[in-house]
């Protein structure tokens, strides 16, 4: 017993108390900024360098739903107009908001409808489905429940059974072999229910967007409520996205 208390004392106070304003290392690659400058004519270096074709020109814009945050475009840009900041609040309820241009200052999350907030505002239980995820997103979602991020204090938890869940969180590009299971799992969640896509692979297929082994029909047939970009998304991106969406303090 004494030893357990000693361990508890050793634990100290590791919780991130202010998840809204915590800061990340300066090298962390979060929201990119694009300077309002003209590109040298004919320069397509950023496009050529991008492994997932997340960049388009005229004007330069980056799709955070496809971006794997690898800094290649930042490195090759001759005018240094692309720069990854350590801003981690990049979740959104709309796919369109994930396109970053030179006008983007922040990524907005529109708060959820009155109905969703009244249903899930004080308690949200989620069932996670790994559908081809590489275990990167899964590790970060697991980290949400550790002593540092402690998602449970906001009334948001991951549960074992879809029957106990209010929605699903999908990670991975949805492989052929998981397409059916994903559907069955979602069907097992009682109404009303939400769908959250965590990570670049889930949002767009990411690096696996052209893989012949994926089957993304499910996403076309259902409304997606929240997009959480990142490769993998930082736990703070997930927490802040959900808190903004559910309009929690």
């Amino acid at each position: 017993m004494i030893d357990v208390i000693k361990l508890r004392i050793l634990q100290g106070d590791p919780v991130i108390h202010d998840v809204r304003n915590a800061s990340l290392p300066k090298l962390f690659r979060g929201l990119p900024t694009i300077d309002n400058k003209d590109c040298p004519s004919g320069c397509e270096k950023c496009i050529e360098s991008c492994p997932t074709d997340a960049i388009k020109l005229n004007p330069v814009n980056i799709d955070l739903g496809l971006c794997v945050f690898c800094p290649l475009c930042e490195e090759v840009c001759p005018g240094k107009i692309i720069h990854f900041t350590n801003e981690y609040k990049i979740s959104s309820d709309s796919r369109e908001n994930l396109f970053v241009t030179n006008e983007t200052k922040t990524i907005l999350v529109e708060k959820a409808s009155e109905k969703i907030r009244s249903y899930f505002g004080s308690s949200l239980k989620l069932r996670q489905i790994s559908a081809g995820g590489c275990n990167g997103c899964e590790l970060e979602l697991n980290a949400l429940s550790n002593v540092n991020f402690d998602l449970g204090r906001f009334g948001i938890e991951f549960v074992a059974s879809p029957r106990h869940a209010d929605g699903i969180v999908i990670t991975g590009p949805i492989t052929h072999n998981m397409a059916k299971a994903t559907e069955i799992c979602f069907d097992a969640v009682p109404n009303p229910k939400i769908i959250i896509l965590a990570g670049t692979c889930a949002i767009s297929g990411g690096i696996f967007q052209n893989s012949k082994e994926t089957e993304r029909k499910f996403l076309k047939e259902n409304k997606i409520d929240l997009f959480i970009p990142g490769c993998p998304p930082h736990p703070l991106t997930f927490i802040n996205g959900l808190l903004d969406w559910l309009e929690k303090k």
Binding site: D3, C50, T52, S130, G132, C134, I207, F208, E213
Partner: protein
């Protein structure tokens, strides 16, 4: 045996490989296997010529890899299975059968690896079935009761006791190997990072080694040391995570959360170095992208000082708790003999007394100059697998401190040229789970025409199968966590 002998990361020409006729090939490979070599690959060099395959056998005593080629009659891709005598080859043969239509005659257990419909001709897979009074079957998955990857487990039980477990995988199959061939050059590293998100460093390390081998690139000592430090950080982080998982499975919440807290410190240290908590973006061909400086070195060292101090207190508590030891000891045993036969690798193998560690037996990068110690335990149970991880954390921390306090100067990037044509490179890296093998071959234009990946999980899932025999089904989560295997690394 007749073979081309190469070393880890050494470039060779494809035409140096001896291609034997089918019978000589079988004899030669059998001879190698009877010498105790371990198989790390069995596949064709060129997908368009599936009848010409190579076998790769690794010999830890001479630190060399034996490559033997075999040419089969085009219309008759069948042979007497090696697995009837050498169990370790069984899964490689399943993979060969699934991907290229070979028939291993008398194979003890031909089963699908990633694609259900190929071997079975669209028939559903028939699980082995136990019959009798009080016998029952438990099916779990693909979706499990937690935030983890998918896989299907089928238990044949008699009361609480498991008599047989079958593990059916492939749900995570994204086609990584095929994509590696068709990928643009700048996509391959990202693909390598996404093989398994928990072993980003291990897989990118092996991938970079392969590409650097094919392009005759020598990287600087500082870059090599940075890579090794990153690899050891990953090892420490995942071992902490695994120990936390094992503690969680026996209900020791305080221990589990303590390990979790320390893991956060370690992966945040990786983020201080490269911006990603998993080391994404750190590796580039020819070196590393981000350098150590006084600021991040000091921060990382102070983080790791806390880890070193606290982890010893937590280990002491866990490994002296009678409750924990009762659950750990004699649970999920894989004996040394069995482990040798089925070819367990990495930490699960070392926990069954197999004395192989890629960093020592096939040294690469900084490990050639700054060796690590080999750690093994004999008992092969959950205790050994957990305890081994605790000991490896200590050794990795020693290595990291030693390197970070004596960083050599120099550049961190070297220019990389074009890949040589008609060549091949085999790279083995000791990821935190065990040996990661990446193999690449180029065609006569220097384009990559074959890319094979073997995650340690490919070998070790079979170990989990057998560990469960005569174990209570309620101990499954504990056994599973003690092996801590990858689904995506297996499924590719």
């Amino acid at each position: 045996m007749i073979s081309l002998q190469v070393q880890n990361n050494q470039q060779f020409r494809i035409n140096e490989i001896p291609f034997l006729n089918k019978n000589d090939f079988i004899d030669s490979v059998s001879e190698g296997l009877s010498n105790g070599f371990s198989m790390i690959g069995l596949f064709p060099i060129d997908k368009n010529q599936p009848y010409k395959i190579i076998s790769l056998l690794a010999d830890p005593d001479s630190s060399s890899i034996h490559i033997t080629g075999g040419e089969f009659p085009k219309d008759k891709l069948e042979y007497e299975s090696f697995a009837t005598q050498y169990l370790q080859t069984n899964y490689f043969e399943c993979e060969l059968a699934e991907n290229y239509g070979y028939t291993p005659i008398d194979h003890p257990w031909l089963r699908p690896v990633r694609k259900q419909n190929i071997i079975l001709g669209n028939k559903p897979y028939q699980f082995y079935k136990l019959e009798g009074d009080e016998v029952h079957e438990v099916a779990v998955g693909p979706i499990h009761a937690g935030v983890i990857e998918p896989g299907h487990f089928r238990f044949q039980c008699h009361g609480e006791l498991v008599y047989h477990l079958e593990i059916n995988l492939g749900y995570q199959h994204r086609g990584v190997e095929t994509m590696m061939l068709n990928a643009k050059k700048n996509q391959r590293l990202i693909l390598a990072e996404s093989i398994t998100g928990d072993t980003v460093i291990g897989h990118t390390y092996a991938h970079c080694n392969v590409v650097e081998g094919l392009t005759d690139t020598q990287i600087s000592l500082r870059a090599q040391v940075s890579r090794s430090v990153a690899e050891e950080l990953e090892r420490v982080a995942m071992h902490l995570s695994g120990l936390g998982g094992v503690a969680n499975d026996i209900g020791l919440a305080i221990v589990s959360s303590s390990y979790g807290r320390l893991r956060t410190l370690v992966i945040n240290s990786l983020a201080l170095l490269c911006g990603s908590r998993f080391g994404r973006g750190l590796f580039i061909y020819g070196g590393v992208r981000f350098d150590f400086n006084d600021e991040n070195v000091n921060q990382i060292i102070s983080n790791l000082e806390i880890v070193r101090k606290d982890v010893s207190a937590i280990n002491k508590f866990l490994f002296s708790s009678t409750g924990a030891l009762t659950r750990f000891e004699n649970t999920g045993i894989v004996s040394g003999d069995l482990a040798q036969q089925i070819g367990l690798v990495g930490m699960s193998g070392r926990a069954s007394g197999i004395e192989t560690d890629t960093r020592i037996h096939y040294p690469y990068g900084a490990y050639r100059y700054f060796p690590v110690s080999l750690i093994t335990l004999p008992s092969g149970d959950v205790f050994a697998r957990a305890r081994l991880r605790a000991l490896e954390i200590d050794e990795s921390l020693r290595f990291i401190f030693e390197q970070m306090e004596n960083l050599s100067g120099g550049e961190i990037k070297t220019d990389v040229g074009a890949t040589n044509p008609s060549s091949g490179v085999i790279s083995i890296v000791e990821g935190w789970r065990g040996e990661i093998v990446h193999i690449a071959f180029t065609d006569n234009r220097g384009e990559i025409m074959q890319y094979k990946i073997k995650d340690p999980s490919f070998n070790n899932w079979y170990g989990l199968n057998l560990a469960l025999r005569r174990t209570a089904i309620s101990d499954f989560p504990l056994c599973n966590k003690s092996f801590d295997l990858s689904y995506s690394g297996h499924d590719l």
